[in-house]
Symmetry: C2
Subunit: 191 residues, 2 copies
Amino acid sequence: MAEKPLTPLAGALLGLLHDAPQSGYALRKLFLTTPIGHFSDSPGSIYPALRRLERDGLIAGTIENSKSLRPRQVFRVTPAGRTRLKAWLSTPVTRETVDDDRAVFLLRFVFMPGAIGAAATVRFLTDLEREMAASLDDLRRFYRAEARRMPLSGCLGLRAGLESSEARLRWARLAKRALRRTVAAASKRST
Amino acid sequence: MAEKPLTPLAGALLGLLHDAPQSGYALRKLFLTTPIGHFSDSPGSIYPALRRLERDGLIAGTIENSKSLRPRQVFRVTPAGRTRLKAWLSTPVTRETVDDDRAVFLLRFVFMPGAIGAAATVRFLTDLEREMAASLDDLRRFYRAEARRMPLSGCLGLRAGLESSEARLRWARLAKRALRRTVAAASKRST
DNA sequence: GAGACCATGTAATCGGTTACATGATTCA
DNA sequence: TGAATCATGTAACCGATTACATGGTCTC
């Protein structure tokens, strides 16, 4: 098998369908009206992706309102799809995880608590923090070493990278604190 | 004609070659060792892209060290390439400019002062500020309206978007101040 | 009855990535 | 002499985007 990681779009669709079974059109509207990643809301983007997921047995579509009215195909995540989603969400955090521009880690994060639980999400954030801190360190080192040789605009470009890395790291810490509170509250309730 | 905008990779290559003519291999090393955007450093990525640019007449390669030693093809930006680069750098700032995940605006920014001048770059940053502020406003509105209906992880995901938008905006202001100083200094020298 | 919206598709294109392949040179 | 680095390519694949196309339904 050696399953390839899901593409960002595939992961987003699978995650959204895991949260709530819905039609391709509803997913399009989500992409259009909410700030989830930046996916194209065009039909040529979503429907082929859904068909690929269906072909791979990760989702299954059932037609509602059949008989001429206004048929609508509602997709649900299959058990295999759920397994695959969990695997995607559980892929280890490495340097590439935090260095990617598209912020796929954020997409993954959003689906995590619902799919693999709050405790696993907290662990994920801990790993993120570690890698983000390392990445930021490297960037700072690079800046110190090369800034003087670079034109002003290069320096400023690096500053942008630094600022956004710092913002990400602050966010990871904040998110961890917030999630930990819910884990603590949940365990308190259960005792 | 109706020239399509350059792809991020094409823009990066053209900009780098405009700053300094160099070989494909040297460009690969830049991608490998510096934190410019996140482009693949693999030959299968860069060489075809260079060939496309050459095919379109935007760059021209001259072979150095020909005669068996270790030939190396050094690429230079042609006048047409320079025009195209300027056009790319000058495309108006819209909402999509600031909303794109890949931060192509940053790439453009880095090449601007060298290609279209500091004054034009300051104008660009002014436009960026405006659009970034508008984008941030929308995000905040969305957050206020929808946060209560969303699960915690969705909220936190939005927070990440907010934090990074705020960081970008702060950076744009900072960069504008820094560049303005150099413009002021330059005009002072010239008087 | 016209226009906006629901709902789904297909075809063509294209750029980027991975994997594979080659050969020369430098240095230990 | 073998490994690392310089230097350049090619072939195959694949997913995403754009543009095009269809037809029902709801509301004014």
